[in-house]
């Protein structure tokens, strides 16, 4: 039995552990064959960051083209490929993995007091599957990309598209399994690997949100897999189950596609909500108000989210009676999200608030997610949806949630856990500045799109009527500011790896279990399995000595 003895003197803050998960072995092989969930989180961080750059480049092309009403930069075909690849890369290769695979992988076992996830080899496999699928998508991109939107509607995608649908669809099929494996791993880990005393209602809210996300990943993604497989089959054989000439119904594709893709948007927000709960609690020095409600609301959103997919198909030929059912259910699903927003706000009330970078992102999330969520109600109502469907209103709605919400939460979480992951502090002033620039750039980019859409500007068109130009110019100008806001963190976070101030064990005075272990952590996380005796976010009990 191997035994390692070390002495920790809490008087002296520890700047760098002798052995931590980063410096235990520097070889490439030790990284590519790692079973350590923290290293796998870093591997994912690098991969999805690269994908984000690609997706942003596609977005840049779109916004450049839309500066003028004419289709002058890109022709219609090229534009179609640009928005398709932007959507596919951002949704499947960036947003869906983002928080779960980077922050979740890193932090979840530590929040549970565990040494690792339940299935470390499956965890590594999920990363390799992600990379393999991403390579297929990139191959399709290099060959010229796919068009027809990230939504792949037949019969266009199956019969009439002249682009590389099959490699891209198969790539997404493969990446889906990465998502399934991650979700499966997290569910078993949360059920099985909790430290003694860590009951369900003592779990941090980030864990609850990851658990709810994992439920969706496991139950929804397989349907996407089979749907895309059927698209590929139809393209190869020339006929398929969605072919009208055989009596097939293209709307069936939409049912199957959105059965996954609606819950997928909850995959793309729930982890962000979990991060926000952690940040709001920590930077208000207060327990989250209505903890149980927030925890159960996460699961409610995950379950309910499976019942509303038809609201993407109100104008697709779906029966209006089914539309009514889906509309009513869509209104209901807003309720648990609203509960969360109210509870975060109540947490802030009479809290001792400090405006560090992570908190700025969290506050931004609360405001922007609320706007995005409220505009979802416009779309859930059948009558208004008829006018707003397929306009820029929809585009603005989902970007408010995915970028204004999830992306800000991801950045907030990344800054919050950066010291834990790297042992370094990022430069706080630059952090705050970037958060501000992101906020301004984001709103300038996407708010005009609400108006343009409301005024009738259709989406997925490379040219538009000249009355919409002012909104598009504002939007594209916003993009340039947003780009600066995104580039700055890349630069200063990388800079901090070498020259950043060395981080104390718990720079934020956070109450989380993940902060009770050295920074950066050793490979096995805890030197001794903790025994938990209190609830989460118990801020009145954190000693001030550990604040850096």
């Amino acid at each position: 039995m191997a035994t390692v003895t070390r002495t920790i003197d809490y008087e002296k803050p520890i700047y760098e552990e002798e052995i931590n998960y980063l410096n235990t072995d520097y070889s490439l092989k030790s990284w590519l064959f790692t079973l350590d969930h923290k290293r796998i989180g870093i591997l994912y961080l690098i991969s999805i960051s690269l994908m984000f750059i690609l997706g942003s480049a596609a977005a840049g092309l779109i916004r450049l083209e839309l500066l003028t009403p004419q289709g002058d930069l890109l022709n219609a075909d090229a534009y179609n490929r640009a928005f398709t690849m932007h959507g596919i890369i951002m949704v499947f290769l960036f947003l869906i993995p983002s928080i779960p695979t980077v922050l979740g992988n890193f932090v979840l076992p530590m929040m549970l007091g565990a040494r690792d996830v339940a299935f470390p080899r499956l965890n590594l496999l999920s990363w390799y599957v992600y990379v393999f699928g991403a390579l297929w998508i990139l191959a399709g991109l290099i060959l010229g990309g796919a068009d027809g939107g990230w939504t792949f509607y037949p019969p266009y995608s199956t019969t009439y598209a002249n682009s590389h649908i099959v490699p891209v669809a198969l790539g997404i099929f493969i990446v889906g399994f990465s998502s399934i494996l991650t979700g499966l791993n997290f569910i078993v880990t949360t059920h099985r690997m909790r430290a003694p005393g860590l009951t369900w209602f003592r779990l941090p809210l980030f864990v609850w949100s990851l658990y709810a996300t994992s439920l969706i990943q496991v139950l929804a993604t397989p349907v996407l897999a089979i749907t895309l497989l059927l698209v590929a089959v139809e393209r190869v054989l020339g006929v398929g189950i969605f072919s009208p000439q055989l009596g097939g119904d293209p709307v069936l594709f939409q049912h199957m596609f959105w059965f996954y893709s609606h819950p997928a948007v909850y995959i793309m927000i729930l982890p962000g909500m979990g991060v926000v709960s952690e940040l709001v609690a920590c930077f208000s020095r207060k327990n989250v108000f209505g903890y149980k409600f927030v925890a159960l609301a996460s699961v409610a959103i995950a379950v309910y989210g499976f019942l509303v997919w038809g609201h993407h198909m109100f104008v697709a030929g779906q029966s209006v009676y089914a539309g009514m059912i889906f509309s009513a259910l869509s209104f209901l699903v807003a309720i648990p999200s609203a509960i969360k927003v109210f509870n975060w706000t109540a947490t802030l009330y009479k809290g001792s608030i400090s405006f560090q970078t992570p908190m700025l992102y969290a506050l931004g999330f609360i405001g922007l997610f609320t706007i995005g969520g409220l505009t979802g109600l416009h779309l859930a109502a059948l009558s208004t949806d008829v006018h707003l469907s397929d306009t820029y209103f929809v585009v603005a709605h989902f970007h408010y949630i995915m970028v204004g919400g999830m992306m800000l939460a991801y950045l907030g979480g990344l800054h919050y856990w950066w010291p834990k992951m790297t042992g370094r502090m990022y430069p706080e002033l630059l952090g705050k500045l970037s958060a501000l620039i992101v906020f301004i750039g984001f709103n300038l980019t996407f708010f005009p799109q609400f108006i343009a859409g409301f005024e009738g500007m259709p989406r997925r068109y490379h040219e538009y009527a000249s009355q919409y130009q002012v909104f598009n110019v504002l939007s594209s100008a916003g993009t340039s500011i947003l780009a600066v806001g995104f580039i700055l963190p890349v630069l200063y976070l990388l800079w901090s790896l070498k020259w950043g101030e060395k981080a104390p064990i718990n720079p934020w005075g956070s109450a989380g279990l993940e902060w009770q272990t050295p920074t950066p952590p050793p490979t096995q996380n805890f030197l001794e399995t903790p025994v938990v005796t209190t609830g989460p976010h118990h801020y009145s009990q954190v000693r001030e000595e550990v604040v850096g």
């Binding site: 005393g197 119904d249 009676y321």
Partner: protein, 141 residues
Amino acid sequence: MTVSHDASGEAVLEHEENIVGHLHHVVSWQTYLVVYIALLFLTVITVLVATVHLGEFNTIVALSIAVVKMLLVLLFFMHVRWSGSVLRMVVLAGFIWFAIMVVLTMSDYASRHWDQGGSAAPNVPGVAPVVQQVNSEQSNH
């Protein structure tokens, strides 16, 4: 949740058995044999019933027998009979989610022509032109 300590002082999560089920439960080969014979028998019944023309009932009977066979495999071969609550929930979740998908999708197809009156006829407006079982002269794409 209770916490106990085993001989080495390590805290152990109790109720593991209540969650996963009786670990290492040994099912006798005789049980397996009986279940196997039942499955063979039910398969033969399924085919025999298919020889009789019962209209819509053919489908219902065939699928009901299939469900019984599935339950036999699940409960006995896959040990769900002796599994704990969490595992049973996982099994149930899969079926419930499948049911959600089918029921809500069929709510669309079942109601597409309600505004046109009449019962569910094969010629469903809103679906691509229905080509009945007729020899088609259209060429393949």
